[in-house]
Symmetry: C3
Subunit: 676 residues, 3 copies
């Protein structure tokens, strides 16, 4: 059956029968239990290379043949994985160059997974061969609905072959070494290269001062990875070109630029592991829910289409500091959250707990007891039942009028900065803080790249958009000019795509945000960093809030806009919030500025969550973004609309009441309601 | 004189005259001061290799000849060490392969101690030669009372030679690679081996997912070490076979499985360094005393015989964060504690402070002043005097009716777990927590391995006995069946000796504790981990306590026992304590179950110290274990009985009163009383 | 113009036109802005090697020719740097041996700066060639006022060539291996060498037990570095021998023994980066000011002459955890503080912010805006103006009657100790704590080495002078005998220059402080370490204070002095402060003792800041040290006298009043007053 023709949400998960080949009784149990749990789809073969090719060139497909047939006979769809996530030991023994070399230039010994050298020719060849074998055998198998390339890619390799490929990539990008030197500002500390051959990838005990080099190595590696992805894609499609291809994304800052990778995939899949119930890092359920929602909206926005929840934990994920059971109700709630945010599946890692090795205690549908007589199994079965009820929603779209920019390269640039703030976790969390403020205002939100089409949205938030590509300023300018509302914050518009600070002269001074002083009606004069436990009071609409982390000192840029646009930008920004402490007390902490047909907001500081919530409430209303409820200020509740259906979800243990369609709906603790 | 014929406790310590060979005046002072301090035994030669063989093949025994004679003439016994704890620089220079290779596969440069490659042939040969030379010269010297092999062994080496030996060991253990793959569950992440030659020892940048591999490498290395120990033993006994052989153990989790090593030694020796008076880690004197007692009882239980306190600090040990003087009274008290727990000696590291290098400030009997006119010297002299008074107790046994299981392999398995709890220090401390609860109930306690003979005891506690060997369940079953009381806790009976989780099927479900559901009358359904600052209230006999770390959810296994045993086990467990919080409120937190002639207790959670104390008070009484006093609830006091003699020791600075033999005995701060 | 003939303080900073060679407009802006800011001196060429020799043997001096001429024409002096702080990539590519090898024996890849192998012949040759080229071209250029060697040296290299040189150095120092073994106490742990060839430099995975080895490797490397410095010096002076030579020092514990290095330099320069306004490590402005003052006084005391503030941040230094703007007033205050402590310049890193790489956000005079229309630029211009007003003070001396000993080798010895205290940051901070107490008493202070001439001072404080060179005891004895006041603390006089503890015998016991029992009238019997949160009350002049970190137990040494000196030392020390807690309650915590014409104080414990302040108040008065005000107990204010001119500086945000010359002077927040 074709993936899109399946009339139900996918429900199932990673299934590793290759671990139980000597236990036919277990494999029989599996079928019975899958049916009982409402499972209609399994992901197979993800780490099966040593079962498929136990010795070099010796292939064993019989077990997989049987499995595919058996699944088909039992009405269970198969997402078939290429086994390139982990190679068998014989390969590392014979071809050590397939193993990844770490940044310290030490090659890994055999072990782990997804730690290959993507430049290795023998590695690519071995992957191609087995992928093509899988294609030959199963591309037209009726159980197959999707190809799953490898598993949870992450980066990077730093071997000599990668270094050589990197130099080639640089020659192509920069042409001359003089050009590269200029773009890298390598005159700094006398790091000017005389030849491309002198360039080494960044290293903890080598070059780590040239930020452009680090950014470029990341770009190079992503290009290399995508080339690898295309190779695998070609291999699996060789004998059946019309099966969609995906891979499971998992971590927005794992070295893979998903925004780029998405272009090489047919479908987006996401692995989601919130730390439900875990107080160790002081996160509450709400923060977990926001975090999960953020990644779901990111996954969906990558193709502006439904995505697959490829992995989730039916109970305890094993990778955390503390391993807590999912409380009653949470499995249903967290599964429906994925659907609400645009998923077309609820799948688990994994179906049955392995008996040995590092993930043997990772929560699975079937635990070591093997009985199905467990709370987890019953929870999963209920989700299976509920998904059936909601089948008609599968494949339906989700529309947002507001978006937050999360830009991978921008984050990489911020993470290596020296001179703004040493603890970079702030930059990782910042887009989520703005996203959270929008969620609290009960609107649908997209999470997009800086190069995405802004015209889809009424309001776009760009927190700390530090890195401006050549067209970034112009794209924002046009968006506002044509009527959009754009919110930008401190730390924005400071550097170009090579992390070269924008710099001016006596005759043409330069102030952040680069190229947009007239759009925002102000310019940034100084950046004051706050210590972790410091704050400065700011006042907004008569109320005091705390500014944190960073306070920029701005001055109004009166009339700046008039020269270029001849629009309302001729007046300087209107101050919305003012600092009430320190030597910059009384100056502007947040401002708005009408420009063209639209409006530009600048937050000169980062401020506490309450400020963000209240600020966006006003900005959303001004921009005319649709709210999903007339309720205001209800905590712990996420509302999402998918194709006219409203999901109301309560992530607190206590009841919460929201007004939906003119009536008060009370959601019990960990409860939900689906309306429409 | 033969060791066992010495009519006094040994008193003395490590003596390094090889550091003072150019100072005959110091060596003369030493004799005078030893007599003054009541020293009757010294350990010599522990790091003397560069003094004994300053160049390859050039031996210098003259100084040791003189020393042995001089000691004998002055009535001081000698424990003579093999010098294999540290090799001279010339050896590492000429034969770099004698140095250990760390897990990251980098071979150490010269330095340190006890960091050899136990696989190195040249290392073994050099050790054998000098050991035999020592044997030839001193095996029949009248001063010699014991051989002391090396010093404080610890593990492991990861060089290519060790890897090759490991592969041989694995071939022997598993026969076929298929068998190993099955036992290792190596299908996980495609780590299935096609040949033994592909196997590498575990590595931080290599294989660390296969828990069975890590466990086996530890086992292999212990076998290798014990083979080395046997080699040294044969060498020193070559010219005098009747001298007992020991080595000084020091750390229950240093890579050496002492339970195994004990079988290769004639006598057990222990180095004890409690952090007296040090509040840095919030430990109180009481905890230090419990910790010391635990190791003493472990050392004694290894052979169920008196052990030697081979090293202790007469004042400040130098290895801690803060270096605190022993308060007045503490040296006597801590020395007598060793005797009370079964030691036949009080020995120090070291006799005289060295002038240079890393241990020059480690507290010694004679400090840098050289005068003997110090508080420490007087304290030591008083202990010498006291030991003389107690001479009649030397060699006398100590009997315990209760025991705590501390199993080295079980701990190794727990320490590498992923999915139970990331911070593993809990598992290291857990057996001591149960031990402490028993001590607080004033009973003698043994600390035994899981393979020890249980029938010696009325009550055996097995906290977190995660790893079950093939006969473990059966041995526990028999013990209870025949009338024993067995206490088991959460995290028990989860995996086999290859760390393979026990797993069931639809027709034969499997629940922890493996193979013992009928014995305990319950089965474990889920394991909930608590964060560090979390707790759940439990109620026991009308009082509330805190459950910490882990709450298992169990269900009664009614009648399970009746099928197999036909005994009282046919009824399910009786709930003793119940959870009073969270979604499992009202379910069972601790249970008891009569089985055969005995009783099995299951603690489904870990609980605070007060619960453990109160729980064991009831369980000890029910099991009829003898208490050493009629007092209850007296804090800070340890009572121990050795061959009818009662030692009452107060580790508080304040007076404490206990009832002994029908009278109230008040122990002053840091005071003691010996009765009987 | 000759450096000493310049009639003004130098004002300016690091200038890197080589980063802007393709921007002549920027270079023109620079001249205009420099004039505007009152800049009269720039440091040029510090990292210019890749601009000067872009390929091996291809030199480009044209841009520097133009720059030197242009600066001269505009009346701006040039401090010209050798480019040896960083080599171009081509050099590391062709000669990898120029890169430093870390202690783990891994050679660094290209990157960073000041990370060369000082033993590398090719490195030295390349430096010599370019230095001589610079000398040939610019040694007689009228803009040149000083040579600046390299930049912020730090240590160490551990390559094979360095190891070979080290062995040569050891042979020369010790003559025979037997002598070295004795001095190293290498019999410990059998580390006795049989040949110099067996000696390896210390290593984290090798030898780290022999403290003498670590001390010697540091000494060896400093000798090597100074040899390198002499080579560079000879090279730059080749074509013009009368230009003074300096290098910029930056960190009192960076591997460079500045006390030794100073002898190889004509002038002392210091880079100062206090963490103004940063509360992250709980330091207050006061502590920052004390810290800055300490380094200034150290720099000045190295040659007992004015020094150059070679680098400081006009605003945000980028290397800290949080990047805070300098508050209004602070730039003037912190700049004048340098002048007050004896600087002849206020220079910045750097003139203009670079656009790329790791220091692009480091505060500079001209920021990325390029306009000069910034608060920072105005602040700098004001300092320029103020320095002009104070021109007459340039080159004038500063005299102190009190001094604190900060001895580099002593600190290295303390930092590697095991057995005193694991956290060594205490030892780094201790001299500053005593310095602070003296500052609070409003006296001028020098910061000197232990080998400095003590007779300049009335009072000398030696906190934790652990390491005694052969003449240390005698020099202290003479100082006191001839009328000096000497203050010594716990941890003093314990070991010789090889870190060999002083040790006695029965007939000649040895107690700390070595060789000075009669001078201090006491001897140290025991050292008790306190945990971080512990204290012991001590009583001094009826008031209670807290003793921290360490409490030594002493006993009076009555009459000890009489034998050797026949002076007032015949009586034991008078107890000034007594312990009021713990078992040593009632014994002496601080004592004074008249000896010869002078007085010796011994602080047996470390005590809180208030105690130090009050103790020194009495001791300074007794020693007749001149106070700069009659005020007492005014916080946050530093008073310094330079050649009769009094600088009063308030580092609080609140006003402070001090009495100066008979009148009350109120200093506003961050304010100052210059009197005389």
């Amino acid at each position: 059956m074709k993936l899109d023709e399946i009339p139900e949400f996918l429900h199932g998960g990673d299934y590793n029968p290759d671990q139980w080949l000597d236990r036919p009784d277990i494999l029989e149990d599996d079928i019975r239990l899958m049916k009982q749990a409402g499972v209609n789809c399994v992901s197979v073969g993800i780490f099966a290379w040593s079962a498929l090719e136990p010795q070099e060139g010796v292939f064993r497909f019989e077990w997989l043949d049987r499995l595919m047939d058996s699944m088909y006979e039992n009405g269970i769809h198969v997402i078939l994985a290429t086994p390139s996530a982990a190679r068998p030991p014989w390969m590392a023994k014979k071809y050590p160059e397939v193993m990844r070399t770490d940044a310290n230039r030490v090659r890994q010994l055999y072990g782990g997974r997804e730690n290959h050298c993507e430049s290795s020719k023998i590695w690519r060849e071995k992957v191609r061969i087995i992928d093509e074998e899988l294609s030959r055998r199963y591309a037209r198998h009726p159980a197959l609905v999707m190809w799953h390339l490898s598993n949870e890619f992450y980066g990077h390799c730093y071997c000599e072959t990668c270094a050589a490929n990197f130099r080639k990539w640089l020659r192509h990008r920069y042409g001359t070494i003089e050009n590269l030197n200029r773009k890298y500002w390598s005159a700094f500390w006398s790091h000017g290269y005389s030849d491309f051959d002198e360039i080494e990838p960044p290293a903890p005990n080598g070059e780590r001062q040239l930020h452009a080099l680090t950014l470029d190595y990341d770009r190079f590696w992503n290009d290399l990875l995508n080339d690898f992805v295309e190779m695998e894609k070609a291999a699996v499609l060789k004998y059946g070109p019309d099966v969609p291809v995906t891979t499971n994304m998992h971590n927005m800052n794992c070295g893979v630029d998903y925004y780029k990778q998405a272009k090489h995939l047919d479908r987006i899949s996401w692995d989601s592991y919130p730390r439900w119930h875990c107080q160790a890092d002081k996160s509450t359920e709400w923060e977990n829910a926001v975090g999960a929602g953020f990644t779901f909206d990111y996954a969906r926005s990558l193709k502006h289409a439904p995505f697959y929840l490829m992995e989730s934990a039916p109970s305890v994920p094993s990778q955390f500091e503390f391993c807590k059971l999912k409380r009653p109700g949470m499995h249903m709630l967290s599964s429906l959250q994925a659907i609400a945010h645009g998923a077309d599946s609820v799948q688990y890692f994994q179906w049955r707990k392995s008996r040995g090795a590092v993930e043997k205690f990772h929560g699975a549908v079937v635990s070591h007891d093997g009985s199905g007589d467990t709370r987890v199994f019953r929870d999963v079965s209920e989700v299976g039942q509920k998904l059936k009820e909601l089948s008609w929603l599968k494949g339906r779209p989700e529309i947002s009028e507001a978006a937050v920019i999360y830009d991978y390269e921008n984050l990489q640039a911020l993470l290596q900065q020296v001179g703004l703030r040493r603890d970079k976790s702030f930059f990782e969390k910042l887009p989520r803080a703005h996203y959270e403020a929008l969620l609290k205002n009960f609107v649908n939100v997209d999470v997009i790249g800086a190069e995405d089409d802004l015209s889809r949205y009424k309001l776009v938030a760009a927190p700390a958009l530090y890195l401006f590509r050549p067209d970034t300023a112009q794209r924002i300018r046009s968006f506002v000019e044509q009527g959009g509302t754009f919110v930008m914050t401190c730390y924005s518009g400071l550097a170009d795509e090579n992390d070269l600070a924008f710099a001016g002269t006596l005759s043409r001074p330069e102030f952040a945000p680069h190229g947009l002083n007239d759009v925002f009606g102000l310019r940034v004069k100084e950046i004051d960093g706050l210590c972790d436990d410091e704050y400065r009071e700011i006042e907004y609409r008569g109320k005091l809030y705390k500014a944190l982390v960073c306070c920029e000192l701005t001055e109004p840029a009166a009339g700046a806009g008039s020269e270029t646009s001849g629009t309302a930008g001729a007046a300087p920004a209107r101050c919305l919030a003012v600092y009430r402490q320190d030597f910059y007390s009384g100056t502007c902490a947040a401002a708005e500025h009408d420009f063209g047909k639209g409006r530009a907001y600048y937050m000169a500081c980062h401020a506490e969550a309450d400020f963000l919530r209240d600020f966006y409430s006003d900005a959303l209303d001004a921009a005319g973004v649709k709210r999903l409820t007339e309720s205001r200020g209800v905590g712990d509740v996420i509302l999402r609309e998918r194709d006219g259906v409203l999901f109301a979800m309560n992530f607190s243990t206590q009841p919460r009441t929201v007004r939906i369609g003119g009536r008060d709906v009370t959601l019990p603790g960990y409860g939900y309601e689906i309306v429409g």
